[in-house]
Amino acid sequence: MKFRTELINFADGMTLDSGDRLEKFELMIETYGELNESGSNAILLCHAFSGNHHAAGKNNDSEIGWWDEIVGPNKAIDTDKYYVVCCNNLGGCGGSSGPTTINPSSEKPYGKNFPQISVKDWVNSQKMLMDKIGVPYWHLVAGGSLGGMQALEWAISYPNDIKKAGIFAAASNSSTQNIALNEVARESIRKDQNFHDGDYLEHNVIPKSGLKTARMLGHITYLSEELMDSRFGRRFQDEDSKVDQEVDFEVENYLQYKGEKFSESFDANSYILMTKAMDGYVAGQDIGLRDAMKNVKSQLLIVGFYSDWLYPPERGKEIQMAAMDNNINSSYIVLEGAHGHDSFLFSSEEYSKVISKFIES
């Protein structure tokens, strides 16, 4: 599949939700397919907490995109028909401006001083991106988890710039339990002796072990109990493929491996920033979800998964109820989803069909 990766520069910067200003910033984007003449076939994908702009296909490092099961030629989001855009979120560590970027005023990496970004800021920056790359409106904005929050916020903030929103495995705000779990992850990073109060880059170290523990915990929350049972059971890891001699069970080996890999590539300050953005998001901050959705004009497709205990399907239903109160053309579907919270990433016959039919309807 043909794709283009591009760094888009916003020299005028933007004023953030918090009132802070980013004097300038860059967004790393990846695009698939072609924008048609009337500009009616553009789709924006919003990534979840640890995702990036690489949504589909194999990139030059042979990495497969985070939504490759759903996005591609002849897939649910068909890149033969649609011009699909995905950007690395501001504050992330996939190439867009974030804590590892050089701060123009200090000429050192921002580190912990990168301003706190909100879900709304992401959506505002994506709107600036839309204007910059000449997309007149999005036929669809879609994402799962934190990406679903962005899709919802798009529908609320820019009702005239979006025809459809796909909100998958998401909620209009994070639950108490979501915040609690994120705080344990952040604590493990902060208490890593290499964290240096967020200034680890200046010390030429990274809080690897904290990041690793955070990711291991995260992984448990993304999977369902049933999936862990069926995938690992109580099987012992064979001696030859142990990542560590301390490991007994396969599930331990898996978490160790995943955590280790993540800790080599993800930035700790980004981790804290992204989870804070997730925890802080409340659709319709001051006025409540129902009133916030008053001006929504787009069609909504809300999908939840029975096996998802992190953002359980009832959370999606809250959005559906608010949509119905506002006479919005909105559908709410619950699917089995074998992968717990991560189910939104994987194709199933029902999931793919529902998405493609929603796009085409």
């Binding site: 559906q320 109820m321 053309n329 709410y332 579907i333 619950v334 029902e350 085409e360 309807s361």
Partner: protein, 196 residues
């Protein structure tokens, strides 16, 4: 079926009204009402294949088991709720009826008539009815609360539900004057407009 039924219901549905259809199937009834009456319609359905058909038609749909809740839709201010050929499948039809009339002032209910003469013949011969309208055997049918026209109207009286209008259908699914002479014996299906 959807088109015939929508013709009857059309007279009962004001333009631009907000409608919820419990057990909406593939969404064709709602689609018809959306096209002809510009209604804002929501379907409630449990079957994934039927849900996909709703989505393909652009009919908003909610995946839900009707037995588990109707009340939660109360805040949406519906003008009309519909339950076509589904009430006999519910665990508690009386509660469902009351629930529908809480969330909308009016509701449309259609039900297969167990008093239809063919059903009576089946029972007279000592067997549970199996007819084109009720094709499943007793051990595999979803129809756990079948009733006659007479039974249903008695329930409405007991529950203080007003029957604003009613139409009786013959085996072709058409409105029929002949059938209306003795609906409990001759009608295959009853279509009711109910009000609190």
């Amino acid at each position: 079926m959807a088109i015939k039924l929508s013709k009857i219901i059309n007279n009962w549905v004001p333009d631009d009204s907000k409608v919820i259809d419990f057990g909406c199937g593939d969404g064709s009834l709602l689609k018809e009402l959306m096209d002809t009456k510009k209604v804002l319609g929501y379907g409630v359905e449990i079957n994934d294949t039927k849900i996909q058909k709703c989505i393909a038609k652009g009919v908003p749909v909610i995946k839900q088991d009707i037995d588990l809740g109707i009340n939660e839709f109360e805040s949406s201010n519906f003008d009309l709720s519909i339950m076509a050929r589904s009430i006999q499948c519910l665990k508690n039809p009386a509660n469902a009826l009351k629930g529908m009339l809480k969330l909308s002032k009016r509701c449309v209910v259609t039900l297969p008539n167990l008093g239809y003469w063919r059903c009576r013949l089946n029972i007279l011969s000592g067997e549970m009815p199996v007819t084109p309208e009720l094709p499943s055997s007793w051990y595999e049918t979803e129809n756990i609360h079948l009733c006659t026209i007479k039974d249903f109207e008695k329930l409405c009286i007991d529950e203080n539900i007003k029957i604003k209008d009613k139409v009786f259908l013959n085996k072709k699914g058409d409105q029929s004057k002949f059938v209306s002479i003795k609906p409990n014996l001759l009608a295959v299906e009853g279509v009711y407009l109910l009000e609190k």
